[in-house]
């Protein structure tokens, strides 16, 4: 075990007290308090939606907290916007990169902070470049500030963003910056991650860091100390010296699973023959050699950490993304042209995880949304025309069946609550008489009551003879709903096991195969 740097009693650079932040329908942070000392690398662990990013955004001034207090270097700190935070020495390395690709590196470094380099309105490029070169040298980075930013790889641009923090704090004459790293490792190779970590450790003499990641091993390797967030609360603070990944996971998950919630009593134990087969499916960079079979009236759950390939797998099976090798068959017949439209024709539908942009159309009426995939199947007097009466009948059927709360069948979808929107999304695909429906995180971002209703709907679908593939980040949901569970890690299936109602597994069991 590496000896972590022993640091004597040190000043806090950041103190957050009772930060609360909510968005419509969801409490992102519930009275969260953390501390970061000078020169520390502090990590935050937690599931998707636990509040980690939200907290960072508040510290960086991008969101405003509903309540709570922040202290920076022992002074009250309430940044109005990101630039304001910069002026106090707080910087963020954004997941989607915070640099303008078409500017030169040095231009990005000083963007919106060129006051020191201006004489009579004219920019002193030489001075800026000189400053930038010096900064890169002092940070041991082999980056040429006079090149255009898009010449550099994702990883290198991250380093540029980090160096931006140092260059600006130097100009603003601040002692030590606080650098927030929001899931920086998502797009990096192992080698690049190692470089990043070495650099961060190197720089921790001159800066403090907050680091978010899904990969627990990274948090243990890099950080001095670790917070664990769950459901918007800071539930534990751990020193990483003697912590294992299992320790962390135990705190992260471990909720009581309510079998009634997942309607486990409705789970069908006698599933039928295999109707949908995926054979050695591979897509470079995402997943490889995935083989699975879906039986009639079965809910097959696929779980794994974010980035394990399950989402990509779902998209490929649905015909939305292309895969490199392998085959898909339904009812024993291999499907030759795997495209979205063809898969729909063969009876396979896909309920996307991004409800707002890919699932329902907010600016279209409820009835038009529900009938959209079914339009090619509807005829009027034998002609390929729209049959408004039939459409409205279908709509009304589903509104009552799924208990969708909407003022009118012609109301715009954006006016519905998240839960009702999700029901519309489900109705859309159920209306189409499919054999297989693939669902990606069907209960993401909706309230508990609506979740229950969705689970009931799913069980009813099974009762009617459908088969479902459930891809989800919610472990409890995965366990509660599925007949069988497949776990993926880094693109391959690591385990597959049954999940009968009388012998459900636990989250911890699953997690073992996920990390």
């Amino acid at each position: 075990m590496e000896e972590k740097k022993g640091k004597a009693m040190q000043e806090n650079i950041l103190k957050a007290e009772d930060i609360t932040k909510s968005f419509p329908g969801v409490i992102a942070l519930d009275s969260v308090s953390i501390e970061v000392k000078q020169g520390e690398i502090v990590g935050i662990a937690g599931e998707n939606g636990a509040g980690k990013s939200t907290l960072l955004n508040i510290i960086a001034g991008i969101y405003q907290p509903d309540s709570g207090r922040l202290y920076l270097r022992s002074e009250p700190y309430s940044p109005l916007n990101y630039q304001h935070a910069n002026k106090h020495g707080v910087f963020m390395v954004f997941q989607e990169q915070g640099l303008v690709p078409s500017l030169y590196v040095y231009e990005n470094l000083f963007l919106a902070n060129e006051e020191n380099f201006i004489t009579n309105g004219v920019l002193n490029k030489k001075k800026m470049i000189g400053e930038a070169v010096e900064a890169m040298a002092s940070l041991n980075l082999k980056i040429d500030p006079t090149k255009l930013t898009w010449n550099y790889s994702f990883h290198e641009r991250q380093m540029i963003e980090i160096s931006k923090a140092f260059t600006l704090t130097k100009i603003l004459k601040i002692e030590m910056p606080l650098i927030l790293l929001d899931e920086p490792t998502s797009g990096l190779s192992d080698a690049e991650i190692e470089i990043l970590f070495n650099k961060v450790k190197e720089y921790s003499e001159r800066a403090s860091f907050i680091f978010i990641s899904h990969r627990l091993s990274e948090l243990i390797t890099l950080c001095d100390r670790l917070y664990i967030f769950k459901d918007g609360r800071n539930i534990k603070s751990l020193n990483t010296v003697r912590t294992t990944e299992e320790d962390i996971h135990e705190y992260m998950v471990g909720r009581k699973r309510e079998s009634k919630f997942y309607r486990e009593n409705l789970q069908i134990t006698k599933t039928g023959e295999e109707i949908f087969t995926v054979d050695n499916l591979s897509k470079s960079g995402e997943f490889s050699d995935v083989t699975l079979g879906l039986r009639r009236r079965e809910i097959l759950g696929i779980g794994g950490v974010v980035g394990c390939g399950k989402t990509e797998l779902g998209l490929c099976i649905a015909g939305i993304e292309k895969f490199d090798r392998g085959s898909i068959a339904i009812d024993g017949n291999t499907i030759h042209k795997v495209t979205l439209k063809n898969m729909m024709r063969k009876g396979v539908g896909y309920v996307p995880g991004d409800r707002k942009n890919e699932g329902i159309i907010g600016y279209l009426a409820v009835n038009w949304n529900i009938t959209l995939p079914s339009i090619p199947d509807i005829k009027l007097w034998g002609l390929p025309l729209l049959n408004i009466k039939k459409e409205n009948d279908i709509t009304r059927t589903f509104i009552s069946k799924f208990r969708i709360k909407t003022p009118r069948i012609t109301s715009m979808c954006y006016s519905l609550s998240g839960g009702n929107q999700q029901k519309v999304l489900m109705a859309k695909w159920v209306a189409k008489n499919l054999k297989v429906i693939i669902l990606d995180n069907p209960t993401r971002g909706i309230d508990v009551g609506a979740k229950e209703e969705i689970y009931t709907i799913l069980r009813e679908l099974i009762g009617q003879g459908l088969s479902l593939i459930l891809i989800t980040d919610d472990l409890l949901e995965l366990i509660g709903l599925s007949n069988r569970i497949i776990i993926m890690k880094d693109g391959v299936i690591t385990n597959e096991f049954d999940s009968p109602p009388d012998n459900k597994t636990t989250e911890n069991e699953l997690v073992k195969f996920m990390v």
Binding site: N86, P101, S102, L340, N357
Partner: protein, 334 residues
Amino acid sequence: MFEKIKIHNNSAMQKIIDTILRFFKRRKFVEILPYMLLLVLIISFYLITPIFLSRDNILVLLAQGMVLLLVSTAATFPILMGSIDLSVAANTTLSGIMAALFISNIGVYAAFPAVLVGVGFGFLNGIVSVYFKLPSFIITLGTMSIMDGTGLLLSEGSPIWFQNDAFTWIAKGSIFGGLQNIVVWSVLAYIFFSFIGSYTRFGRYLVAIGGAEKIAKLSGINVEKYRILAFTFTGLLCGIAGILQISRVESASPHFGAKLLMEAIAAVVIGGTPVSGGVGGIHRTFIGVLVITVLSNGLDVSLVHPYLQLIIKGAVVLSAVVLTLDRSKLALVK
């Protein structure tokens, strides 16, 4: 994560076209394209008729291209930002007409304040863009109409002629033997604005806004202020262009707008600033203007019918745009 999902449907046609276009999309190619094009054009026209490269013709060519230079430079500002100004030609025309009227009715010095007309309309474009929050193409489509109408109204539909040697000297006199003055003023103006583009915060921020508006805003750049400034500068340049134009032809005509608009945008795009914005700069527009001017002049000298010229130029513009558009930035092409 979800932005990168593109639905594939095995469309062979799309695949072929994308492969061809990918070759052209390489940035190096985009940068070399205008120079290559220029070379090809010059050689071709010279082969067709050697008069093309005669001293006299070159001088004429340069003079012909100056108004376009200014108008294209004007158009570059909003394009850098990712917007567009369809009213640049109408603005130039109107400024010219107002200047001509002032000269006829008041006196030669009254011509210069006509520049303020250009500035005014440019400013209007900026204000409407920021406060009404409308897409720039519709705003400038509207103001283009307004300016066209005003121009037609004031000129009563026909060119305004005037006689003033001092004024004509501005464009047609020559300080440097042979070279028309309009070239001198225009190049000076161009250098000035090019400098602004490359050496001031303003120029840099336009590129930032065009390249990644979200990030620019986050970094604290006052997007609204720069948007208004950009459109105002556009108006200023159009005003100047208008005055030089009427000085050159000794009249103001309300009719040559549409062609000028298309050529201006073409020059910007061919020069290397794509319509999606965020790349390139004012310094690039010069070569684009040269290409268009050489093309126009060459077609003239080769005695190609003016109507055919219109078609050829339109086709060149379309091709240039298709080849240089930065498609990765347009997730959904509307």
